[in-house]
Symmetry: none
Subunit: 180 residues, 4 copies
């Protein structure tokens, strides 16, 4: 079928790793695609062959973070509590500025937005939906997701500080309340 030299194994991951490191170290505006290529030990064209745009590249690099195994407590409340803790972690620490910059990367780039939605948001929403249906909750997964991640995101964007326990408690209570 398709012939020709196959893409260098591991190059994709080397590039994405480079992006993640640079994103954490210098922020979205603080590195160029050329920096990425150099750090990944790759030609610049090899980056553009895989992702059309710096924004798309960053989205791809971030989407790997989105992965999430199911909690697995017995009760719905327990599972939600675990979920809140995990979300808190996602919006805290080193990830912070990277996530901020991810949003920056997508401004005015609908394709990147769509990729983000598909690779980053959808899995988390799906996990939530699975959890709700498992416990026969009639709540809307999209609403719960907004209720879960929104407050952490808002704190991150407006304050640039890690979420505190008061916020975690409030979110947990709100979530459990909304799940009926």
């Amino acid at each position: 079928m398709s012939r020709g030299r196959p893409r260098t194994a591991g190059a994709d991951e080397a590039i994405l790793t480079a992006v993640r490191e640079l994103l954490t170290a210098h922020g979205f505006a603080g590195f160029s695609v050329d920096d990425v290529a150099t750090r990944a030990g790759v030609g610049r064209q090899s980056v553009y062959r895989r992702w059309p745009t710096k924004a798309a590249l960053v989205v791809a690099a971030m989407s790997a973070i989105a992965a999430g195994a199911p909690p697995g407590t017995g009760t719905l409340a327990g599972d939600l509590r675990a979920l809140v803790q995990r979300t808190r972690a996602a919006y805290a620490g080193a990830q912070r500025s990277a996530l901020l910059d991810l949003h920056a990367a997508m401004a005015g780039d609908p394709a990147a937005r769509a990729a983000f939605e598909e690779q980053f948001v959808a899995p988390r929403r799906a996990a939530l939906a699975a959890l709700l249906s498992e416990h026969d909750s009639p709540a809307d997964p999209a609403v719960l997701h907004d209720l879960l991640a929104g407050p952490f995101l808002h704190r991150l964007l407006t304050t640039d500080t890690d979420p505190d326990d008061a916020l975690v408690g409030a979110v947990t209570a709100a979530l459990i309340g909304a799940a009926s």
Copy 2:
């Protein structure tokens, strides 16, 4: 006294208006400072004389939206309900992409972040704090603010759709619950 030619009356507002229009039409990355100057019928330097940076300029343009008079129902629950409605409006419609891009603009620009915090976030938080103290609620205004605006912001950033009634209801319930 101050000598020299006074700044052209109305230039500030012409510039900010141009920013708002361009922000709505093309997004943060979709226009240059030069575009702003041209559209405002002003030299580029006249923009930079007033705001040091594109991000700062955009923050200033957006902060006008932040204005908010206190609700004024009798009950705490009623006031919170009104506040949710107003917040929903702020995160819906034409403002949407502008707000999104505003956040984008501030990534990696601490000065702009601070300006945004001061001009955009603080007033809303202050209004909330006043409301809470007026009704003797012990709740943390910062937490309530995150709980109030976060879900709308999250939906905006991830979905690019207007908030629906289900979300409004959930946020209202969460807020009233958190205010004890």
Copy 3:
């Protein structure tokens, strides 16, 4: 001996033909080696297997034009006159831009220069030398060659127009005069 798959018959000629067409149509800088390969229905590597460089490739494509059988009038003057006519033809018409670009191709490429010298210039100079010795002329063949081809080349490079009769007449006169 040599084993393995033999080179595809006719590929060489297909490639050179493609080069000639592209040279005429778009000029040296106006096509890539990839264009050549595509048009010849050949892989790019098959081109590089045969010629080391784009310039060398173009030289090879042009050298086929250089072919020249001896004139064969009785007199020296008659033979020179015929030679001028033939040279005029070489520097006119469709060949024009191709020849121009050939010279361009060789700038800064000594190997291509040498190949051009060997395949393109030498035969014509040899023909001239044979002609002169046949008629016992003491003139320097190199000088005569410059006097013969130079004016046509100059007109081509500076004017991009075909040589006119006045130029042909002047060249002929100069040549006959120089051959004593």
Copy 4:
């Protein structure tokens, strides 16, 4: 009329000088526009603001060489002789590769060709025309120009050696003969 910051005095010349040096040292393909800008102590955009293309830039750099004061012997033959000597000098020595590369620069760039024609060829042809009319010669200046410069150019392009005395003599004789 047009206001705004005037172009930096001397920048044009600094750029052209840099081009000439780089052309002599490394040849047309041996330097980038960025090299030019760096060497001239100028931003790259300042180069592109003045000349649209690398080729156009090189043409401009070379055209300064074209300058030529009139000879001024008493006789037509003497003037032509002087002209030949000067032309010989133009096509010899350090200029050589630069001139070669100039032709390379213009391949496939009609605008550059036109600029070259206007700035480089026309003045020399005009000088020749003036000379001929001064001495009441009916000869075609264009033809004489081809006859004068062509042989030197041809030797340069094909041989990459300086013109020798034999060539100078032949060109002189041809020229005087053609001028009647």
